[in-house]
């Protein structure tokens, strides 16, 4: 039985990126600090993975100010949502194949 590992998205190999994407799938927008708290990640780690997702054009970034504090919000793009669904499908496929 051939296992479709090649269908898995390289961009989601990292667990944190996959987690960021799952949050953005069910929330229209999510801000940096809430993400940090929810995922229990460090500033640098989270920022670098967000950057990677942005580079893939899976998420879009909205920068604004709340008073004097910068407030950065993230939103999943159509391309990102599609990639996430395909990745999940691939994961499911792997599980199914291994059960047989």
């Amino acid at each position: 039985m051939k296992i479709p590992f090649e269908k898995l998205d390289k961009a989601f190999e990292n667990r944190l990126r996959l987690q960021i994407m799952s949050v953005l799938m069910v929330n229209e927008r999510y801000d940096f600090n809430s993400l940090k708290e929810l995922l229990d990640a460090s500033d640098g780690n989270l920022a670098s993975h967000l950057k990677a997702l942005e580079k893939e054009e899976y998420i879009t970034v909205h920068k604004s100010f709340l008073g004097r504090k910068p407030n950065t919000n993230y939103e999943a793009s159509a391309k990102g949502k599609h990639a996430f669904k395909q990745h999940l499908d691939a994961l499911e496929q792997i599980i199914k194949n291994q059960k047989i």
Partner: protein, 212 residues
Amino acid sequence: MKQNEIQDELTSIRSLMERSSKFISLSGLSGVLAGVYALIGAGVAWWITFGSDYFDQLNYTAYNDSVNGPLHANWQKLALTGIIVFIASIITGVVLTRRKAKQKGQSVWGRASRQLLFNLAVPLVTGAVLVLVLIFRGYFSVVASTTLIFYGLALVNASNVTYNDVKYLGIIEILLGLLAALMPGYGLLFWAIGFGVLHIVYGSIMYLKYDR
């Protein structure tokens, strides 16, 4: 990647999707207690309105908007009773929900809870202001139904960011409120059912379903 690793990954995704968009630390026990406070409050309100004439007043006809009626004479005391019940319920809810959130490792003051409060507050504040207007204009007989209807709307509005069960509680509250509007003499009775009995029943269901 091994199969159980993938399973873990999928489980973590599912839990994140829920935790990031819903506030799932609402305490069922606080619902039960809020219901108990409401029943006590309804008893006090009955006693304020009818006092020692208890058995003479079982026909409820005294429950109307007339200037000589007991509602007009006692509305300050009745409003105070309602406010005390409301505040006691809120405090209980906050304390118990905090405790549960701690156990679940969810922050009490996060995105989801802010969204929940906002969704609750819009209909609740609207209803509260409308009730004040009704009281000052002397329309006491529709106050009970108005509070029930707006509370129900608030619950339906908030249900998309917490347990889905809250939606059905909201719909029942709205129906009770409409029924109460049709039967103006029985406001207190509907109020006791809506805020007392229903909270106890629903709180128990939520407690058994999610808290244990």
